[in-house]
């Protein structure tokens, strides 16, 4: 095999090899090459030294009250959501099982009304119905998620350009 250090793309194989990520057959082929190539051998040695140095960096212990604090925030979130739910529930659409017979009845009455008096404007408008189908928290989440993704993508774009990434 050609020396992987000849191109950056292949040199990345040596990084994967040091991380033991390669498929066994590729690892064997690379080992054979490394055994007779001083440059690759040195590369692997240095990469493994980095790997071991990073292993020394143990994480800090987690605060014992981490879960308690999180669940308190979740509880608060649920409390606010249920308050919001109660506040807006009169505006919400009815569950489908209740709404369907009512809608069918309304359609019949509407059809009868149209037949009786064609000059009248229909009472129900589809656009309004669609707007009502959106739950307030769905809109809130969607806006929040859209903002998150927008910020993230902006962060990715504004990060250092390719050579310095």
């Amino acid at each position: 095999m050609n020396c992987p250090l000849e191109t950056r793309e292949n040199a990345a194989l040596l990084v994967s090899h040091a991380a033991r990520e390669l498929a066994p057959d590729m690892a064997v082929r690379l080992d054979r090459h490394v055994a007779q190539c001083a440059a690759c051998s040195q590369f692997i040695e240095r990469q493994q030294a980095v790997w071991e140095a990073l292993d020394r960096w143990r994480p800090e212990p987690i605060s014992p009250d981490f879960n308690r604090r999180l669940y308190a925030r979740i509880e608060e979130l649920d409390r606010q959501a249920s308050w919001w739910h109660r506040l807006t529930s009169p505006l919400r659409p009815m569950p489908a099982r209740h709404a369907m017979p009512i809608a069918a009845t309304a359609m019949l009455l509407l059809a009868a009304g149209v037949l009786m008096d064609r000059s009248r404007v229909p009472a129900a408008r589809p656009v309004q119905a669609q707007v009502e189908m959106l739950q307030p928290e769905q809109v809130e989440h969607a806006l929040d998620d859209m903002e998150t993704i927008r910020q993230f993508d902006r962060a990715m774009r504004s990060d250092s350009p390719d050579p310095k990434m």
């Binding site: 990073l54 960096w57 987690i62 998150t148 993230f152």
Partner: protein, 193 residues
């Protein structure tokens, strides 16, 4: 990483149960991923208090998004995308003290502690502490995107495809990011062998 794929499918299944209102499944996900999220964010921002605060925000967002959750990607990819986004934002906003400043303070603090500690292993501890400090500085010196890639690759063992989705780039771009990051780290840390 076949085992990880099976575990991730299970995570998505748990998240779907959370979506249906099962709080116990959320608790399982939290227990399973809490450490990796906190440790990842800690190594990004190098401040434990800030890391825990950001990790809380990560899990709050997971919980808040439950009703709209769709398993279009592996659960951990989604989780680390949120965590990376928040860590990068925090770094950009400068909410936590700059790494170099803080690391300098830590180094300045050391002589007092070392004078107080006169156990025989003090010299050895000093060498280890100095090396650890060098590791932290070397990682902190990496551009944020390279840093995130290295931390996800080295410590969290995410696949290249997952890191690519988290960082919103191609797999080959991830390999290139990692190559450059490790190149910097080799120049600074390889002498430790």
């Amino acid at each position: 990483m076949g085992g990880a794929a099976v575990a991730l499918d299970y995570d998505a299944e748990l998240m779907l149960r959370v979506k249906e209102g099962d709080g116990a499944s959320f608790a399982v996900l939290l227990e399973k991923h809490r450490s990796s999220v906190i440790h990842f964010v800690y190594r990004m921002v190098q401040n434990q208090a800030v890391a825990e605060e950001l990790a809380q925000e990560v899990f709050l967002r997971v919980y808040r998004s439950r009703s709209t959750y769709e398993p279009t990607a592996k659960f951990t990819t989604w989780l680390f995308r949120i965590a990376t986004h928040l860590a990068l934002n925090s770094l950009r906003d400068g909410k936590n003290q700059r790494y170099e400043d803080r690391l300098d303070e830590q180094t300045e603090d050391q002589p007092a502690r070392q004078l107080a500690d006169r156990r025989p292993s003090v010299e050895q501890s000093m060498v280890l502490e100095a090396r650890l400090d060098e590791v932290r500085r070397a990682v902190a010196s990496l551009p944020a995107k390279q840093r995130a890639a290295v931390l996800m690759h080295k410590y969290e063992e995410l696949e290249y495809s997952q890191i690519a989705r988290v960082l919103n780039c191609s797999e080959s771009a991830v390999k290139s990011l990692l190559f450059r990051a490790y190149e910097t780290l080799r120049a600074r840390l390889a002498y430790m062998a």
